[in-house]
């Protein structure tokens, strides 16, 4: 098992959550999201996003509307659907748990383990 593979597995798991987070505050179109994810150093290949968006949309978590662009083809602006907002809340909770777990496990020291015993 190499590190790259492990990283990509972790990213893949998080990507969905991150996209929903990005769309929480304002609707965006794909290139926006890509830019944001790149800034957050999460995305390796851009194309990964498109199947994900389509899947989320098909699952009813996202909805989109077309908007004309001044400098390119018309854009699909994605936004969270009510279900998506609910789903995101669920994910938030799950992430917090997960985060706590990880933090706990990372800060744990041999001494602490000794005390617990």
């Amino acid at each position: 098992m190499n590190i790259e593979n492990a990283k990509s597995q972790m990213r893949k798991g998080m990507l969905e959550y991150c996209v929903l987070l990005l769309l929480k505050h304002r609707p965006s179109y794909a290139s926006d999201i890509i830019q944001q994810l790149k800034n957050a150093e999460l995305l390796v290949v851009e194309g990964t996003l498109y199947p994900l968006l389509t899947r989320l949309k098909n699952d009813g978590l996202l909805q989109y509307e077309w908007q004309e662009s001044t400098q390119g083809p018309p854009r699909k602006y994605y936004a969270l659907s009510p279900e998506g907002e609910q789903f995101l809340e669920g994910l938030d909770a799950a992430w917090n748990e997960l985060s706590n777990t990880i933090n706990y496990l990372k800060t744990i020291t041999p001494q602490l383990l000794e005390v617990k015993k």
Binding site: S31, V45, E46, G47, Y50, P51, T54, G72, P73, R75
Partner: protein
Amino acid sequence: MKKNITINLCGRLFQIDEDAYELLQQYIESLRQSFGHEEGGEEIVNDIEARIAELFLELNQQGTEAITIEHVKDIITRIGKPEELKGEEEKNDGENGGHKYDSFRTAAQGFRENVRARTAGKRLYRNPNDKMVAGVLSGIAAYTSTDVTWWRIGYALLILASNFLFPLFGIWLNLGFFLHVNLAFIVFYFVLAIAIPVADTPKQVLQMEGKDVTPQNLADVVVEDKQPAQHRRGCLGSFFSVIISIFVGIFVGLAAIVGLVLLVCLLLIIVSLVVVFTVPSVGMTLPFDIDDLHLAELMSVHPWIVIAFIIGLLLALCIPLYAIAHMLFSKAGKVQPMGIGQRILWIVLWVASLCCLFPALVWIQEQEKEKYNELMREKYSYQGVMMSQQDKDFLRKGDWNLIKAENCAHYTYTGYYDGNHNLRFLDVYNENCEEVFQVERKEGVKPGIYRLDCVVRAEGPGPCVYAIGDSVRLESIPVYENLDGIPDMGWYDVSIDNIVVTGDSIAYGLSSDEDFTGQPCRAQWFSATDFKLTRTGDLPKQKK
């Protein structure tokens, strides 16, 4: 310099290099194949297309006028290969497939599968990236997944060894050209070089190597610069690169000239054929001596051979003409170069037309030769015996009848006994004394008694003069006496007296035929001349 085209992507126009366009198309196509069968697949691809349009637009805004293959390659790396997008790494379980053959399988089956496995999904191209001369062997090596070194060594040995090997086959096949087989192998190489197209585009390089034509592989070819480039040459070729480019120019020029000549020939031949078949009796001299073949006459006897000849002739001219025209047009970029199948088809057709033309031509010429011989025989034969014009003239003028003429070197000779070298006389020669000769002349006479006088000579005993009146009278020619220095050497006057003729004719002549004279001929030569018939008296009156 690259060809540039305009594409419409999501309602926007972009200038894009042709190779870049091909790569892009491959990429989108592979995405479509990858997502096509899942829900919303079409939508995903359309979204990605829109993204590509956006990236192109960015490039344009940065001042890029035409999208190059490098740009497309960057974009593909940025967006990702279809496999990456699917996110699922499907591990190939090809490892389990056995390379070992069951003990039941025969070696032949194994070999066939080996060949099939090696050539599967490949196309035969010449390899421009690894070539000594034209990349034929290298292409074959790539096609068969084998090492080109062995092919090269093998072919070189074949060329060298063919002189020793092929005479054996040559005798067996009765091939006349086996002395030139090493040349034939060299020519064969160039035939292959013409027939097999060169892998020009990255796509063809992949097909040659048997790799899937995927965007990633295409991009690899481009980036690794396996892409065929004009400046790459075989190590032999590089020495002659300048010369080669000059030769290419000369070759194109020559091809154009040859094409022109062929065209003129073709037109002349067509006109000539029309003349030959419509007004055969005109008898004028036509180009290429077509009139000498007497096609119209032969047509009525053996139409199929003449038709085969004409069709073969026309095809043999038209095919190279077409090939040259096609080459010139494709050099000018007006038409696509021929595919390998088309080239082979034309070559086969051309060879077939030659195979049609030459036997027919040989046959026709054979007919003509036969006709000529006939003519010659007529001209140089007297009563069915071949001889010189002078002999023939002499015999005909003398009204001589050839009864026997075997093993004679000549029939007349000059060097008359009186020293006149223009006069001819009967003279027969055979150095082994094997001549069998008899000539006879008939004269109509009144009944009476006659005497025959003649002047004769012979190298040895045997030959006779004779006269036939009521009975056969023979007179041997005396053997000559060698009187050196005297012009009338060895000549004798011979007479046959008291020839009784009750009929109305008398026959006399010269013979060395043992069956006739009753004595074997032992003379290398003998001569006779000045036959003269004289009436010496009336027939004795018979009592009633």
